[in-house]
Symmetry: C2
Subunit: 100 residues, 2 copies
DNA sequence: AGGATAGGCAAGTACTCACTTGCCTATCAA
DNA sequence: TTGATAGGCAAGTGAGTACTTGCCTATCCT
């Protein structure tokens, strides 16, 4: 669950893809490939990007919609909100306190 | 830079360590080992935990202070705040927009 | 001093994962 | 229908990494 989210964010290429989708949501695979190559000098194959997109979608950071032969990728930032909260306000429960 | 942070968070054991330190900051290596073994049934060696702590410290999520033969580990949640912000409010700068 | 406790260093192993290569399917334009 | 475009599936490779094992140093207690 959360494991997919953190592992998706662990790769720098995937974070760059999120950057691009944050700037312009709803891009196709080929558009993303072009941007990674142009703006970020990432010499990466189309298949690699496709696999990254699959990981991001499995993490819930991405939603896709198909139209004809195009598949558009939309950013979903909802899963990101719970990340920091996990350790920031952690006075949720006070279990045993054993002083050694 | 941010790479260390995300890679540190990618491992479930390290996230559990952060959970334990959020609940009780300033634990020693052996205390953390005991907690992982007791509360989380993690059959993990002391060296493995030590290496995890080194990764967390390199990511800035941990600060350590030595007192005699004890080394205490304190949680630092500061690096976590910038994570979500990267993609949530990303109207920071509007670069070129090329419609394909 | 001697033993016990707390931690560190370094090499080896096994497994994950990012990426490539090759081929296949589906939609659209001529 | 033919060719071009957009995307998918699957196996193979190489590098990174989580974990172990073995040994070593430093501090405390009696």
């Amino acid at each position: 669950m959360a494991d997919d989210l953190f592992k998706a964010l662990a790769d720098p290429t995937r974070r760059t893809i999120l950057d691009e989708l944050a700037e312009r949501s709803g891009q196709t695979l080929f558009e993303i490939c072009a941007r990674l190559s142009m703006k970020h000098q990432l010499g990466i194959s189309r298949q690699a990007v496709s696999q990254h997109l699959a990981v991001l979608e499995a993490a819930g950071l991405l939603e896709t919609r198909r139209e004809g032969r195009y598949k558009f990728h939309d950013l979903n930032t909802a899963p990101l909100r719970q990340i920091a909260e996990r350790w920031l306000a952690t006075d949720t429960s006070g279990p045993e306190e054993n002083t050694p």
